[in-house]
């Protein structure tokens, strides 16, 4: 029961062409940059990426798009300070976009992790984002039926992990991480610190280890926004 892996490269080495990959983060907060870059190093193609956004600058998910690895993005907000990678690919028809309201995206991922195949939400009712989806009325109000969202892999950034995969996050870097850990067949976590089981107070665990498959230490993890301010480029 030791889920630690040696390095990001090893932890993402089996992600094949065509995989669906949830990637934690909201903008730069919680973005698992080192795992993403390890994945680009390998370069599987035809990926479906699930993230709140669609990349910023020339690192992370933007660099995945630039590398031509991404067939489809499921996200709520494919805009950023420097969205050129996604924008160019999208406008050229090289990438498919499934636009999902942010709360619906979060709830679909949670549903995937919680064994709830479908649920009803008021969000998007009566809008074009509900087109083609079943609707129903409850207590006189209209709702849209949304389906769960699962993935083959999740790449998530945590602050501290123990060897059993229990996780705590850092500030608003938590965002989609706990949900994606639940919803992927294989969850890969980069943690700034890996500790022995018992070192995280059981009351403070945010993601119980049962949702986590692989943990890799990245003690010098960089923050995506900091990298973008520096003008970093994946290479």
């Amino acid at each position: 029961m030791d889920k630690t892996w040696d390095c990001p490269a090893a932890a993402v080495a089996d992600i094949p062409d065509g995989a669906s990959v949830m990637i934690g983060g909201f903008g730069g907060s919680g973005a698992p940059i080192e795992l993403i870059h390890a994945l680009i190093d390998r370069g599987p193609r035809d990926l479906t990426v699930i993230n709140n956004n669609a990349g910023n600058g020339r690192i992370g998910i933007a660099a995945m798009i630039d590398a031509g690895m991404v067939r489809k993005i499921i996200c709520s907000f494919p805009k950023s300070k420097d969205p050129r990678a996604f924008t160019a690919a999208y406008l050229a028809g090289r990438i498919e976009l499934e636009l999902v309201p942010q709360g619906t995206l979060a709830e679909r991922i949670r549903a995937g992790g919680a064994g709830i195949p479908a649920f009803y939400t008021p969000t998007s009712f009566g809008t074009e984002l509900a087109a083609g989806k079943p609707t129903a009325e409850f207590d006189g109000r209209g709702y849209v039926q949304e389906r769960w969202l699962k993935a083959d892999y999740a790449l998530v950034k945590a602050e501290t992990a123990d060897r059993h995969g229990n996780l705590v996050y850092r500030k608003a870097g938590r965002n989609f991480g706990p949900l994606m850990c639940m919803a992927a067949a294989a969850t890969v976590v980069q943690a700034t610190r890996i500790v022995e089981p018992g070192a995280i107070d059981p009351e403070h665990v945010v993601t119980p280890g049962l949702f986590v498959d692989r943990v890799v230490a990245v003690p010098d993890a960089r923050q995506e926004e900091d990298l973008n301010i520096e003008g970093a480029v994946y290479a």
Binding site: F26, G27, G28, S29, G30, N52, S76, F77, P78, K79, S80, K81, P83, F86, T87, Y90, L91, L97, L99, V100, P101, Q102, G103, T104, L105, A106, E107, I109, R110, T121, P122, T123, S124, F125, G126, T127, E128, L129, G142, Y169, R170, K171, A172, G173, R174, N175, F176, G177, P178, L179, V206, Q223, E224, E225, D226
Partner: protein, 227 residues
């Protein structure tokens, strides 16, 4: 009509006016961009707790330049600080707060608001890259959904309309609109004028509004400080 540009409220003044209606003890979500400005004008002596979709309750203003922690940001991806009593949570819990009706008020921007309460604020149509973020969730859930907006577009077209022409964010969700010229409630599928700038006549205001402004009692002067 050329007066409007001269008499209209600044964005700061619109934000100030919206802030006056936030009651003590309210949980508030401010849409990204212009609505974020409302927090600057929080009424002294009242405590509002701000929620951001990305998982913080009770965040405070931006830190001093150079002090940014980019893991501590709001939905607009701007660096923020924490107030005592803040909490972090994940995205599903965050939108449980939104969708579950736990916010007292959400204040959003608008491309168009219709007299039936429909709001369009996420897409200008088919071109470019569409992006929706949390807007469609916010319009369903907050006990009160208010809009702050210029009264007309940059080209002078009405933003308060009979029916939205742009893709909807939500159906029948807006209950009050704070514009650069007036405060308008939406009640029973109609615009009801509550306040207007003294400097504009009712006729001139109606002329730049795309649907009937109904009256239901006296119309107060919209009075806002210099900011």
């Amino acid at each position: 009509m050329s007066d409007i540009a001269n008499i209209k409220l600044s964005n700061a003044q619109i934000a100030w006016r919206a802030a006056q209606d936030i009651e003590d003890g309210s949980y508030v979500n401010l849409g990204i961009g212009f609505p974020e400005m409302v927090a600057r004008y929080q009424v002294a002596g009242r405590k509002a707790i701000y929620h951001t979709e990305n998982g913080i309750l009770d965040f405070g203003p931006a830190p001093a330049p150079g002090q940014e922690d980019w893991d501590l940001i709001n939905a607009g991806k701007k660096a923020v600080t924490l107030n005592p009593g803040a909490a972090f949570f994940h995205h599903a819990d965050s939108f449980a707060m939104v969708r579950g009706g736990h916010l007292d008020v959400a204040i959003l921007g608008a491309f168009e608001v219709a007299e039936n309460g429909d709001l369009a604020n996420w897409s200008v149509g088919k071109d470019g890259v569409p992006a929706v973020g949390g807007a469609m969730d916010l319009v369903h859930g907050a006990k009160r959904v208010a809009v702050i907006t210029d009264h007309v577009t940059k080209t002078g077209a009405p933003k308060l309309v009979e029916r939205c022409s742009l893709p909807l964010t939500g159906v029948g969700c807006v209950t009050r609109v704070y514009t650069s010229l007036a405060v308008v409630d939406i009640e029973g599928g109609r615009f009801v004028l509550r306040e207007k700038l003294a400097a504009i006549s009712l006729g001139d205001l109606q002329a730049v509004t795309g649907a009937t402004l109904n009256l239901d009692g006296p119309v107060a002067d919209l009075i806002v400080p210099e900011l």
